[in-house]
Amino acid sequence: MSSKESNETNKSRRQFLGAAAATATMTVAPGVTVIGLAQAKPVDQAVSSKNRWGLLIDSNKCASGCDACVTACNTENGIEEIHGPETDPQWIRKVTLKHKASGRETSLPLMCQHCEHPPCVDVCPTGASFRREDGIVLVDRHTCIGCRYCMMACPYKARSFVHETLTQQVEYMPRGKGCVESCTLCVHRVDAGSGDPACVEACNKENHNAMMFGDLNDKYSDINQELRAYKTRELRADLNLNTGVRYRGI
């Protein structure tokens, strides 16, 4: 089959699925909504504050010694090892917490917490550090001057500076020397409506299922249900940043 034909097939398949989804929503009795349909945003529409993307991390399920999420993040975003962890960008790092009295150790991945009130945005002198309407905190590298105030301001040390000239960027994640960067919640995937961030995907693949991604505002989303059912914590809740990343088991 030629590639043109196969494209056309896919297109008609997509249209069929779209129509099927629309019908499903329409035929359901009044007052009943269909749960679990992927709500992909049309590419030409702006993100809105109706959504608030976030992560729920269950540190009880997070295996110590496993760094599948870190590796997946690096692969997905084209982050290569250059000089080692001292100076290389790290969008996620695995952290081990130890309770002083009991000696209990907890392992968890730590990344940008996508705060509602991000200190990195407050201190940015150029407006490069910003929070999208849907809660994802990003760096606009076009306006970032590399001053690194945000790195100082972030209580989670979630941001990294790119020290070296890069050449192997992937097309959906432009990165370059002289800019600060951090976890984007795989914003390219979020906008495409194509599933979980790379870290969550990798964690599920390892059968650890310690990470869950979703819309905190959507009361039918899995993450929202979990947050309602179980007690979760924000890191440094005392700072009142209302983080988009929540933890269980710490």
């Binding site: 999208r132 960027q169 959906y172 432009p174 390219h188 495409a192």
Partner: protein, 129 residues
């Protein structure tokens, strides 16, 4: 009169010397490397306006998550592929690269590719495509 001739002659020598040291002029860019039928705008328009288009799209994508491909840099890169001797698309360091061939000719520096990929990402691209 003789003095004037000497001055003129030495100026001519200097001139020739300086042009020779500047190297041969850049070749005319090849603008026919297009995959589809036509560009998103007529040639005359795109030559003058392309930077405005991608600048506008850049802010729309970055801040508002609008990812239409019509005026995206990724759209340009995926369409204007120039293949090298090894059959792979050349990157912006190569004189034959679509963007580079023209920018070299016009002596206009572009910073896009310090961060952006200048060739399509090969293989089954993750969800982000």
């Amino acid at each position: 009169m003789n003095k004037l001739l000497v001055i003129l002659a030495s100026m001519a020598v200097l001139l020739i010397g300086s042009t020779a040291s500047a190297g041969s002029p850049k070749p005319l860019p090849n603008l026919d490397n297009v995959q589809g039928d036509k560009c998103v705008a007529p040639k005359e328009v795109i030559r003058v306006e392309h930077m405005e288009y991608i600048m506008h799209q850049r802010d729309e994508t970055m801040h508002r998550g609008i990812r239409t491909s019509k005026h995206s840099l990724k759209g340009c890169i995926n369409c204007h592929i120039v293949k090298g001797d090894d059959g792979k698309p050349v990157n912006f360091m190569d004189d034959r690269h679509f963007c580079n061939s023209c920018h070299e000719y016009a002596a206009v520096q572009m910073d896009c590719f310090q961060c952006h990929a200048s060739t399509p990402t090969p293989g089954p691209v993750a969800a982000g495509k």
